[in-house]
């Protein structure tokens, strides 16, 4: 039996020791707000299927100051996610080649922003004049 007490390096708060790790943990934490927002939409869908009265209750709940505060933080979280997601995409996808030359990472990142902004505008245009 091993009775020696071997030294185990403490790991608590390891991510607070370096700004890179802090940004990493913030990125991971954005998923909490993503998950809660998806559940908010799910409750909306449940209330929608229960009929007009219950759906209108859900709409009223969405105007609650806590709900507004949550969505403000959630908006910041999803924007942070978006920036980090676009930044790592060139490292995740296999290298793209056009006419034999490799497409620079910056182009892939920029292309994603162009597509994303286009999609945001389309989505906004769909509700703008309602």
């Amino acid at each position: 039996m091993n009775t020696r007490k071997s030294y185990i390096r403490p790991m608590e708060g390891w991510w607070l020791k370096n700004p890179f790790y802090i940004r990493y943990m913030i990125r991971e934490a954005t998923s909490i707000f993503v998950g809660i927002y998806a559940l908010v939409l799910l409750t909306g869908l449940v209330s929608l299927s229960c009929g007009e009265a219950s759906y209108n209750n859900w709409l009223v709940a969405m105007t609650n100051p806590i709900a507004i505060l949550f969505h403000l933080i959630a908006l910041a979280a999803v924007i942070y996610h978006t920036i980090t997601w676009f930044a790592v995409a060139p490292k995740v996808v296999s290298p793209l080649f056009i006419a034999g030359t490799r497409v620079p990472d910056m182009f892939i990142v920029a292309a994603q922003y162009v597509i994303a902004i286009l999609l945001y505008l389309i989505l906004f245009a769909m509700v703008w004049k309602v």
């Binding site: 991510w15 998923s31 709409l59 969505h71 994603q112 309602v130």
Partner: protein, 117 residues
Amino acid sequence: MKKRSNEPVFWSLFGAGGVVVAFILPMLVFITGLAVPLGFLSPEVMAYERIHAFASCWIGKLFILAVISLPLWHAAHRIFLSLHDLGIHWGRTFFKWLCYGLAFLGTLISLILLVVI
């Protein structure tokens, strides 16, 4: 034969969720969570008749399913893996079932409701 890892399945759902979150959610959170509740946009945008009609056509069903289910899988994967970063090493199987189970349940409920609506 070596048992195959189920990681690619979860990673694919995580990846698809990440794409939906990046390309759709910033505007969707703004519209549903801020602009309509605060009155920047007309309440008609999220009125019952309109959303019900949207959830009744197949493209609407697909959209709603995508913005609920995929972000759930995305969040489940990240939260599950973050437990390791936070030094929580106990109950790995339990947390795996909890995280992915909730995402699966959310997907199933959405799917059933959208088919019924």
